[in-house]
Symmetry: C2
Subunit: 373 residues, 2 copies
């Protein structure tokens, strides 16, 4: 099933059976067999094996971060990755992994459980951010990379990069965390909890048992609208839409779309629902709520003190309401207090949490500078 | 039907037939017959007829703003209204009206249309904030009050007070606007639009045709959760809940409530759904999206310039994400520019949009001072 979402040019790593034992042992204790992780690469691994950049994604993207010879369509971070770009693939070997639990080629709730012949659905074991980090680490190993030059990730990918640096402290040199958090705040949890409830309230969801061609798309669409609202910022929308009206349809009913902002949300949510599996969304979303750096040391600061990368870049955006700037400051302060070399960049981008996708100028500058120095 | 929601001690004003003509002519042109408005009063009207305070409410409360001899239960603004309180009922005659379109005794989509014998539902005409203001004005007239000392309102009630001061500029002396706006921003519209969609997505809603005892409570509950999230502020929840876990139930299923903040939202939304009619919610919510002071003068500032109250108090809270402080500043700046006497109070309450309900200290002070001077 997951292959139906798979994008062209993606490779699949069949993960080794947990370094000798059988199956992929998950953070919460379950064992998952036959784990496959989709990934894409750009550039070439150096002879010294010292130029790999491992990129973890946010909740919804695939591993297709940039175009390549195998897939010429634009990736979700096209401006960032490529020859001469801020993450320069003439110098670096970039690996982007599709998260374990996501539906773009990696093993997930939408995959067939080879032991039963049925789709996992809710029989998929509890997923943690740590599992996504471990799967990414395993992909590097299958590619012959035992040490990453840099691990980088935005949003959920930033949480995953944090988990990676806690679980494999000796297998990376540098860390870039973008618009992420050491653990979720109650406001953010409430947004994601309601999104999950919107999916689960769709009768078609049916406790996670549905066919791909009859998925609970209404619930997904409502959840995505709430997501879009939390990814952007009020002032950007004021500039962009203000109170512009949507062109009226002749058959317009009361409470139908009236304003352009409603039209924008509807259009974008509609695009998303055909691309993402609802059960995967539930698992990944909940993993973000549960992630907590404090589980790696007793407190957040004790956890952060265990990271021992050489150079660390922590980026936040002051219009972000989902991962507010205080949360990136918490990471930067905690690491600085523990004596790490940290650069904390507060960007005044107006696009909220999504800024890393669209504020090309600011993000190119701070990430480009980091890789140059 | 509306009487089922009616609280004890509420009076009902049968509005005169639009000052001579037949029926209540609405802002968008429809005519509504047999309009009744629920209200409560505190204190006594002075012989000089110069001490009436007209209070408009937010979207969800009834006219029961404070306890009285007729209804001793606490009102939604209990700390504000009463003998010796900031709005001192030893000095002022306070009238709180239940909004036209709301289900606590006033004519609304939940009322029986006396001409057909059926509940209005979606046959209720399009509702505007101006209609709520007009109904409030009519209630004052039926009480023998032709001039209000002060018109005051929080949230939707603030929008209604603005509409009142534009429609009846010579029938009030002072104006207090709390956590409101001259018109809604796209972010706020998107929240309310999604809330309405959540109600409409409940199959039980059935295009507005349902029995009171089988209302679309699931959709209402989801909508209310989103509302609660927009009424409060992230930092307050961080202090209050942080990542506290909800006591685990034995029969807890995957994706059930995990955190205390989820429990809080669930509990509060549950309480609300039995108290409010879904169709009324849709009409009032949409009226807030559509309200625009610019319709009273071409631009917002031209509209604000038409208000000619003597003293004006504009209050905003800097943690409010639903009606951000810029929007109260817009009102204060516009009125000041037009030469009005304006006091603009920015409060640092941490409870967001709901602060006027819970930040007793700050709100008592600024409103008490206004009435004293």
């Amino acid at each position: 099933m997951s292959n139906e979402f798979l994008v062209d040019g993606t490779s699949i790593a069949k993960l080794p059976s947990d370094y000798g034992s059988t199956g992929f042992k998950m953070f919460k204790g379950s064992v998952l067999n036959n784990v496959e992780i989709a990934y894409e690469t750009w550039g070439e691994l150096s002879i010294n094996n010292d130029n790999a950049v491992l990129l973890f994604t946010g909740l919804s993207p695939s591993s297709h971060a940039a175009s390549s010879d195998l897939n010429k369509s634009k990736g979700w971070w096209e401006y960032m990755i490529g020859p001469g770009k801020p993450i320069d693939t003439d110098k670096y070997f970039v690996v982007c992994v599709n998260s374990l639990g996501s539906c773009f080629g990696s093993t997930s709730p939408a995959s067939i459980n080879k032991e039963t012949g049925s789709v996992y659905g809710l029989s998929f074991p509890e997923l943690s951010i740590e599992d996504i980090a471990k799967a990414g680490h395993s992909v590097l190993l299958t590619l012959g990379v035992d040490h990453a030059h840099t691990v980088i990730g935005p949003s959920m990918g930033g949480m995953t990069a944090l988990a990676y640096s806690l679980m494999y402290p000796n297998s990376l040199s540098n860390l870039i965390i973008i618009s992420a958090a050491a653990r979720a705040l109650p406001f953010t949890i409430s947004i994601r909890s309601l999104q999950r409830e919107l999916i689960r309230s769709d009768p078609i969801w049916n406790n996670g048992i549905y066919e791909k061609n009859s998925a609970p798309i209404n619930g997904m669409k409502l959840a995505r609208k709430l997501g879009l609202m939390s990814y952007r910022a009020a002032n950007e929308w004021r500039e962009r839409f203000n109170r512009a009206r949507s062109p009226k349809q002749n058959d317009r009913k009361m409470f139908d779309i009236e304003f352009e902002v409603e039209n924008y949300l509807d259009h974008n949510a509609e695009k998303f629902v055909s691309m993402f599996d609802p059960n995967c969304y539930l698992y990944l979303s909940r993993a973000m709520d549960l992630f907590d750096v404090a589980e790696h040391g007793g407190t957040v600061n004790a956890g952060l003190a265990k990271i021992h990368t050489k150079n660390n870049l922590i980026i936040g955006v002051d219009s972000d309401i989902l991962f507010p700037i205080d949360q990136q400051k918490e990471i930067a302060d905690g690491m600085t207090k523990a004596g790490k070399n940290v650069k904390f960049e507060v960007l005044n981008s107006i696009q909220g949490h999504d800024s890393f996708l669209v504020d090309v100028k600011n993000f190119s500058r701070v990430i480009g500078d980091f890789f140059k120095n």
